[in-house]
């Protein structure tokens, strides 16, 4: 102690360094107690969000239009909806309220629409049966029609057929002369 005291007095910094050296030596001793071991790693675990996008063969345009129609007329239009995202998605079909001119009696309440899901238009063998999604007046179409899940890359073809029912002879449908209706269809996909 007399020497330590002497050292402390002579150089307190050297004393502290000596203690630090002892602590390092102790740590090395602990490390030397390990057995053989082995490790493996799984690096680069990358997480990328999927994309939900789809294409519409008539994006921003009408699927079908018909002018100067009379009772008994029909018109057909086709649209292809494709899941262009990287993930599967749940698709739905909605529509805005039809706009009738004149509002009454309302051509949308007279004209009927049939919407058929024909599935993949490129399918040639073992193709699933067509599915009729809706048949009824344009006005009464449900606000939302579920279309099911599309796998990534899947395409469905939808065929719209408009019909003007004929109520009979002698001007039975005269109330609809010159009437028009316009409707918008919207397609949504959700992960």
């Amino acid at each position: 102690m007399s020497r330590m005291s002497t050292l402390w007095k002579a150089s307190p910094r050297k004393v502290l360094l000596a203690f630090a050296g002892l602590m390092v030596a102790a740590a090395i001793a602990v490390g030397s107690g390990a057995n053989f071991n082995s490790t493996s790693a799984n690096p680069s675990n990358v997480f990328t969000a999927g994309t939900i996008t789809h294409s519409n063969s008539k994006a921003g345009a009408a699927i079908l239009t018909a002018s100067n129609i009379v009772p008994g007329n029909t018109a057909t239009g086709t649209v292809d909806i494709k899941n262009t995202g990287s993930a599967s998605g749940t698709f739905t079909l909605t529509h805005l309220a039809p706009v009738d001119t004149p509002a009454s009696p309302g051509l949308a309440k007279k004209l009927t629409m049939t919407i058929v899901d024909q599935g993949d238009p490129t399918c040639v063998t073992a193709c699933p049966a067509f599915v009729t999604l809706y048949t009824g007046t344009i006005f009464a179409q449900p606000a939302t029609i579920p279309l099911g899940s599309y796998a990534a890359g899947a395409t469905h073809r939808y065929v719209y057929t408009m019909s003007f029912p004929d109520a009979g002879i002698n001007g039975a449908d005269n109330a609809y002369q010159g009437a028009s209706t316009t409707v918008e269809y919207d397609w949504s996909s959700t992960s």
């Binding site: 239009t65 129609i69 010159g178 028009s180 316009t182 996909s189």
Partner: protein, 202 residues
């Protein structure tokens, strides 16, 4: 103290950033990934069938206290304004006490050179076609009583065997002429007759 204030403000800013991130993260969890496509303007318009005469529903023929051989002649212009091509039917209900069977009727189809007034035949020219073998433009020749009375039995214009097509703004003139037969059985009788034009889209 100044340095401590800086650290405090940085901490506060960090807390705010973390809170904002938490809010954004919370917002992100409210919705799934989605996409929307639209097909607007699916429009459907019905056509029209519209026909009218220049007589406004008023009579174009009249015989009063007539004797055999008396004649009444009147003309009308019929115009089609519908958007759909159509055929036109001619018919009309008769009435009275029985004179119509003693009235001969000749209906001639033609054109007007100008804009005729109701009932007037000024400017009328018969079609050159001899539709039924009764002369140029004649589409009916018979008694008033035999004029078809309903749409179902109507005569098509100009003939039922070869109806014409009326398009938007088609216009034709028709001359109606009745002559009282020389038949004493018609004495004291009277008759009425309506002439109707009905357009039906093809």
């Amino acid at each position: 103290m100044r340095g401590g204030g800086t650290i405090a403000s940085k901490l506060a800013a960090t807390v705010i950033v973390i809170a904002a991130c938490a809010l954004l993260a919370g917002a992100a969890t409210w919705s799934n990934l989605n996409a929307v496509a639209t097909n607007p303007s699916n429009a459907f318009t019905a056509g029209t069938v519209q026909i009218a005469t220049n007589s406004s529903g008023s009579a174009i023929l009249s015989l009063t206290n007539a004797k055999p051989g008396a004649v009444s002649t009147g003309c009308i212009q019929v115009t089609y304004t519908g958007t759909l091509d159509a055929t036109v039917r001619l018919y009309g209900a008769g009435g009275g006490s029985g004179l119509n069977q003693y009235l001969n009727l000749v209906v001639t189809r033609g054109t007007f050179s100008g804009s005729p007034s109701a009932g007037s035949c000024t400017g009328f020219s018969a079609d050159s076609t001899n539709y039924i073998g009764q002369g140029a433009g004649v589409i009916y020749s018979g008694t008033v009583a035999n004029w078809p009375s309903s749409s179902g039995s109507a005569q098509l214009d100009p003939t039922s065997s070869s109806p014409g097509t009326w398009s938007t703004n088609s216009s034709h003139g028709y001359q109606f002429q009745v002559t009282l037969q020389s038949n004493s059985a018609g004495q004291g009788l009277n008759g009425t007759q309506t002439f109707s034009f009905e357009a039906d889209n093809n």
